[in-house]
Symmetry: C2
Subunit: 346 residues, 2 copies
């Protein structure tokens, strides 16, 4: 497969993207070509410095503009037609590449992918699927920010898209899918979550769902139960995701502060280093790499702004897996079965 | 002040409530009387066993019924008129006690307090205010579950109630208050959060707010910035709160699992014990004690189901502080200034 990398995206761009490309060249043979999109002279120099300047799998595509992290996503797509992000998405739109990866402005990545690639047949809205570490592996939360004002029916699409991710990328053939709520009982929830629950239950009773619908779930179920997919609107999902990331950071902060206060703890911490490192790795967004924006015609992975080279490698691997398993075709097929019943229900 | 304790509430009731009452008797002189509400013979024995059976500050009020953790809150209030929770709230309603504390069924505590005590003058909806530890102390999140389908105007009341908690209980004279959103820019948010933002901004421009409105905040601001109050609907707030609690638990789980795997780490962990203990304490709900249900006519504190005696003591101390500072009167005054402008805006 061929892959477009928004080389100017991310807090430490282009370095992280050059590092990532180098790792892909070394470790992921199935990726036949990487298009690095960004300022040609900067990228040329950076590739030479990294010792990959003459690698035949690498192509540099010049993009004179860059979308900053602060810009409005929609405005950036409309006004900066020659940004590295826009041109990277264009490579997927034209069919030259199968996937685009960007660690840049999330809003702009969502807008560019949705506007340029358009929605998959049968999908109402695109959604971001965020893999979060749990004690059982990963739980996929969707949507985490593409669509803050979701309708209940949008969650059906998120459920199918996330379930296909769980099946093909996280090796969960019949994933457990639940609706996030403020209580697990059927009667609990907001009007929004209760309606989503009702739609899923009716589709489940007609045996139309390609996953196991388990009902409502609460915040703690994300970590503690054998849950594979948790569904919510992009507003709640985004707040949830950032709060969980921040809790993990706060925990580290308190740990470091506590260690500094006590000489015995400081010495003991040395013996704990491998444990701390393994927790940091399992909680780090870098080991996941990125979150796919699902429901668009193509593969679009949004990496964290603070991504490093390893994160970019992992995001590229996720893209390769989604492409190899034809995840988008599986979504189209599932939605074709579901939609007649779903639209009959409305 | 006099205080009613739902002695049958909590996963480990009545033990935790007896433990809590004993600690209050030992450490909190300003609480002149504790009414333990629950099964008289069980409570009598438990008090005797704890050595507080003949303490003149303690009164046992017999309640033949108990609300279980699984019951629907509203149904429990309607059907079990003689539950320990209902009768404890009745003691506040009649004016006999100034505050009620329960570690029982949250939905039932919200329903009983709202129905029996009624709303404070000028308050549209009651909300739960949850103090969460941050690197700067505490941030108060409201609402965390009383009202899953909030209207934007309800957040004005939550803002005032939480700000008064921040001022009088957490010693923040001019608290920083923000609306939770999926981005900090003015334009970010759901239709709901954007309307709440607009209302707060207009009230702020008229200098009617008894706090500093700082705009939007994201999940990570809860821990990292000098934020005192974060506003959201009860659906999002509940998911957020439980997810954060679960993240902290997952972190401990990974830490313990990692330590078990390595003999060096196991030995080193002994030297880190004081650090782990201090983190566990600062992240534990027990050090906060409980979350006030604010906006009702009286003081009602909801403790965690897994509360221990220390949590009950701290919940009682919170109630004492709210009563001593006349927090409810301060809320009524602030709402009286705000409401004409707020209702003019609609």
């Amino acid at each position: 497969m061929k892959l477009a990398l928004d080389a100017m995206g991310g807090d430490n761009a282009p370095k992280i993207n050059i590092d990532g490309a180098k790792l892909v060249l070394e470790k992921q043979e199935s990726i036949k070509s990487i298009y690095l999109v960004g300022d040609e002279s900067i990228l040329r120099k950076a590739c030479d410095a990294a010792g990959i300047g003459s690698n035949p799998k690498l192509q540099i595509v010049h993009a004179p503009e860059v979308v900053s992290m602060e810009e409005s996503g929609l405005a950036a797509v409309r006004q900066k037609k020659h940004s590295s992000m826009s041109l990277a998405v264009d490579l997927v739109k034209s069919g030259e590449c199968a996937a685009v990866i960007s660690a840049g402005n999330t809003g702009a990545a969502v807008a560019a992918s949705t506007i340029k690639l358009r929605l998959l047949e049968g999908v109402e809205r695109a959604g971001i699927v965020s893999p979060m570490p749990s004690v059982h592996g990963y739980v996929l939360v969707s949507d985490t920010g593409a669509n803050p004002d979701a309708k209940p029916s949008h969650l059906i699409g998120y459920a199918v898209m996330s379930a296909m991710m769980a099946r093909y990328i996280y090796n969960r053939p019949m994933p457990n899918v639940a609706v996030m709520s403020n209580g697990t009982e059927d009667c609990k929830g907001s009007e929004f979550s209760k309606e989503a629950y009702r739609l899923l239950k009716m589709l489940d009773e007609q045996a139309l769902l390609p996953f196991h619908f388990t009902g409502n779930c609460e915040g703690h179920d994300l970590f503690e139960t054998e849950l594979d997919v948790a569904l919510t609107d992009g507003f709640t999902g985004n707040i949830l995701l950032k709060s969980v990331e921040a809790t993990a950071k706060a925990f580290s902060h308190w740990l470091k502060a506590g260690i500094k206060k006590s000489p015995i703890a400081m010495i003991s911490a040395i013996g704990m280093r491998s444990v701390f490192r393994s927790i940091a790795e399992s909680m780090s967004a870098d080991s996941v790499g990125g979150c796919p924006l699902m429901g668009v015609n193509g593969v679009s992975i949004i990496a964290h702004g603070s991504a490093n080279g390893t994160a970019i490698l992992n995001a590229c691997r996720m893209a390769e897996g989604m492409h190899r398993h034809n995840v988008n075709d599986r979504i189209i097929e599932a939605m074709a079965r579901i939609n007649p019943a779903l639209h009959g229900l409305h």
